[in-house]
Symmetry: C2
């Protein structure tokens, strides 16, 4: 069994990006600039955004954090989005989800200029990904594909089972895994809450991508020996022994499953850091206009 070290790979990629940024700056260019909009004080969101801001520093990017309280109106948020769309000094930006209930996440996402949508959530980017056109790939699926590539894991013709059909992980990673590129070209099955005989289906998988948000869901009896396991779950489970009061739990029963696998991602330190680094790659691509030429 080999552990897929997302932390190490993401550090390598951040260094690669930092080198490119210094080349840009040395050539008289401007540093890529990512803005993040954070509403409220949700613990998870605070942590994610802090990680993103920190990663910007490591990549040599400028970053701007724009904060709102929970009672911000949709109009105020839309006005901020419009300002960020128009600001030539902002290459890309994200609005950290989830948003308070009185705000339509979809309306905010659709208001973002797709050429600055480095989260890859805008319908244009989702559609272009599905068709196989250049686009900002949504960060978690792109991070998974990059991990498979860096570990040179053969995916062509493999049975890949995706657990979960969310718009931000399950559906896009399924589309990427079935496309005729490498990594990809797999025979993909998407399982979800309505799936029957789930254990039997998962047991046929050469590659399991678990994105349910259900701690320890994938147990050893569901895994074919030698399978590759990508664990996207990051549920906060209360843990009095930790200073934070919680620990992050993946969707996979790691201790019992890991010995059976050929490759497995840990939680934390697997997909999580790759998600952030995908955002950095998108921001660099937004800044150098390599996805959407001027």
């Amino acid at each position: 069994m080999e552990l897929i070290d997302g932390k190490k790979v993401s550090d390598e990629i951040k260094q690669e990006i930092a080198v490119k940024v210094e080349q840009i700056v040395a050539a008289g260019g401007r540093r890529p600039h990512l803005a993040a909009v954070l509403v409220g004080h949700d613990g998870g969101s605070e942590t994610y955004v802090a990680h993103k801001v920190k990663a910007c520093g490591q990549c040599g990017f400028e970053s701007t954090l724009i904060r709102f309280e929970d009672d911000v109106t949709e109009e105020e948020l839309l006005a901020t989005v419009a300002k960020l769309n128009a600001d030539p000094n902002i290459d890309g930006y994200i609005v950290q989800l989830p948003l308070p209930r009185h705000i339509s996440e979809q309306r905010i996402i659709e208001a973002i200029d797709y050429r600055k949508d480095v989260d890859g959530f805008h319908p244009i980017n989702v559609g272009r990904m599905s068709i196989g056109l250049p686009c900002f790939l949504s960060a978690t699926p792109a991070g998974i594909i990059e991990l498979l590539a860096r570990y040179d894991i053969d995916t062509k013709g493999k049975r890949c089972v995706v657990l979960g059909r969310s718009n931000i992980v399950g559906k896009p990673v399924a589309m990427l895994m079935m496309q005729k590129h490498n990594p990809g070209d797999a025979t993909v099955t998407v399982c979800h809450s309505a799936t029957k005989d789930l254990k039997e289906i998962v047991r046929e998988a050469d590659i399991i991508i678990a994105a349910l948000g259900s701690p320890g869901f994938v147990t050893a009896d569901m895994v074919k020996p030698g399978a590759v396991i990508i664990d996207v779950g990051t549920t906060r489970v209360p843990d009095a022994t930790r200073k934070s009061g919680f620990r992050l739990c993946g969707d996979v029963d790691f201790d019992n499953v890991a010995p059976m696998c050929s490759y497995i991602t840990p939680v934390p330190g697997g997909v999580g850091p790759m998600t952030i680094v995908s955002l950095m790659r998108n921001t660099l691509a937004a800044a150098d206009h390599s996805v959407y030429p001027l």
Copy 2:
């Protein structure tokens, strides 16, 4: 075994649309107006466009056919697209594919105003479909879903195998079949040229959607007794006994497979007429702005 009669269902839907159109006209409204752009003289394209124009008449729509020879330039075609986008009397339009090689189909598709893209090929419509937002669904996948609905075929939790991963059928129908609606909510597997053990995978399917363009590909030994079969294939096979010189062949070995199925679509008379009727539904929705409000 019950034959899924796409011809009959499509006639019913066209009548339903015609009733609505007469209500619109009686209320002082304008007839929906579909334009079709046809380049060259490909036999298949000529036939499809002729069917679409005929269906417009049956639905009470206005239609306009714009023809170009094979040597039309991309610029000329883009100018036509711009004109159609701006024309307030055109509710929706299609550019019949395939286009000659010197023209980028993707550039043409992306130039179409997505609010008039009744083929549902524009990245915005593809992305919105994937996310589950209101959109113009691409015609063939929408026709398949409508057939399943009209025959009240239970899809929830069923194993659905899609053969083929094209942008216009395989990928979108897979997305629709996995979404949490009815029909849908199925456990979907997409098979393609790189798939191994294809027969075994197809044999597990409760619902087979064959969209490979490979005549007779699905044979009786690949089908679980009682399966539902949707045959999207329409390959023209030379046939000297026909006046046209060819016959349409589906992807399914119908004679041997049909006796084993619970439901099956014939070719012709199955999915084909539903594709055209989906285009009519999209055109009505473009005219009454029910997908994209003004």
